[in-house]
Amino acid sequence: MPTIVVEVMPKAELLDPQGKAVAGALSRLGKGAFTDVRIGKRFEVTVEGEVTEAVLADVRELADDMFSNSVIEDVVSITVADDATTTR
């Protein structure tokens, strides 16, 4: 069954405490070349049947209304895993 992948990131201008904690660990490990880490979310949505334009429209709506909160996050990509076609 096809899988649609939705990726959500905290808005660039907002503090990402998780990413900051990991960046701190990198610097303590001597990996100072990596100056910043930001952590987002990846949703893998399995679909029964074909990925039609209507299904994609549904996922786009869910991505905006449920998977992300536009006050603090951006939907950065929606792709169909099988052919990795960018649809957004």
Partner: protein, 231 residues
């Protein structure tokens, strides 16, 4: 007055909110997240806790519960709704109040008796206070950092929608020290601290007068009861 308290999977302080309503002189009514039934209540409390384990975003999955459709309709029709901590996060996710919440800036869970200043004493839940009054309310959260875009912050500051502000310590990195907000109409109020934990002497936060004697939270619940009587 019948005041509904909604229980979600992972609610923790629903019974405490019911007790606060009772101590204030109201009749608490237990409501269930999976129902479409507000049981004829005249006000609603969304209690604290960790609904759905804070998965996705704090309050996000609960904000899609069946009963939330009814809560949103009632709120838009003017019914008083109070969101406490996780309930505040639900109100923000449901877009009943402005803003959103993220992990505390210091990345840790925090529990403290928190000083607040009342910025708006005209809402259904704050009219028993006076503006500028300082109160102490217990606070306990991990995702309490209030965030909104600059334009929204400017608007809510200008229109008196900041209901409470942290005093002394900003416990989570919230913008403008914002601890609680209201909608434009003043019937929906959300805040991170827990007024239901400061309603009975012997079980509240410490005050200069005596240990555990703080009851500043009771005024939230008496405010909504008294406003209903005045109508």
């Amino acid at each position: 007055m019948r005041v509904g308290v909604v229980t979600f999977p992972g609610s923790l302080d629903d019974r405490d909110a019911q007790r606060a309503v009772r101590l204030a002189g109201g009749e608490p009514v237990a409501l269930w997240h999976g129902d479409h039934d507000l049981k004829g209540v005249e006000a609603i409390i969304l209690p604290g806790g960790f609904s759905y384990g804070d998965y996705l975003r704090a309050g996000a999955i609960a904000s899609f519960s069946p009963i939330m459709a009814d809560v949103v309709d009632a709120a838009n029709a003017g019914m008083p709704v109070l969101g406490i901590c996780n309930g505040f996060q639900m109100l923000a996710e449901a877009r009943l109040v402005p803003g959103a919440h993220t992990r505390n800036a210091h990345q840790q869970f925090i529990r403290r008796d928190q000083r607040l200043v009342v910025e708006n004493a005209r809402t259904d839940w704050t009219n028993g206070f006076t503006e500028g009054q300082e109160i102490t309310i217990p606070l306990k959260n991990a995702d309490g950092r209030f965030i909104a875009d600059a334009e929204t912050v400017k608007r809510i500051e200008g229109e008196g929608q900041v209901a409470f502000r942290y005093v002394g310590v900003n416990p989570n990195g919230s913008m403008d020290d914002i601890a609680g907000v209201t909608n434009a109409r003043g019937n929906v109020v959300g805040l991170m601290p827990h007024p239901e934990h400061a309603v009975e002497e012997g079980f509240g936060p410490d005050t200069p007068a005596a240990m555990s004697s703080g009851v500043d939270g009771l005024t939230f619940f008496t405010s909504v009861l008294e406003r209903a009587l005045a109508k």
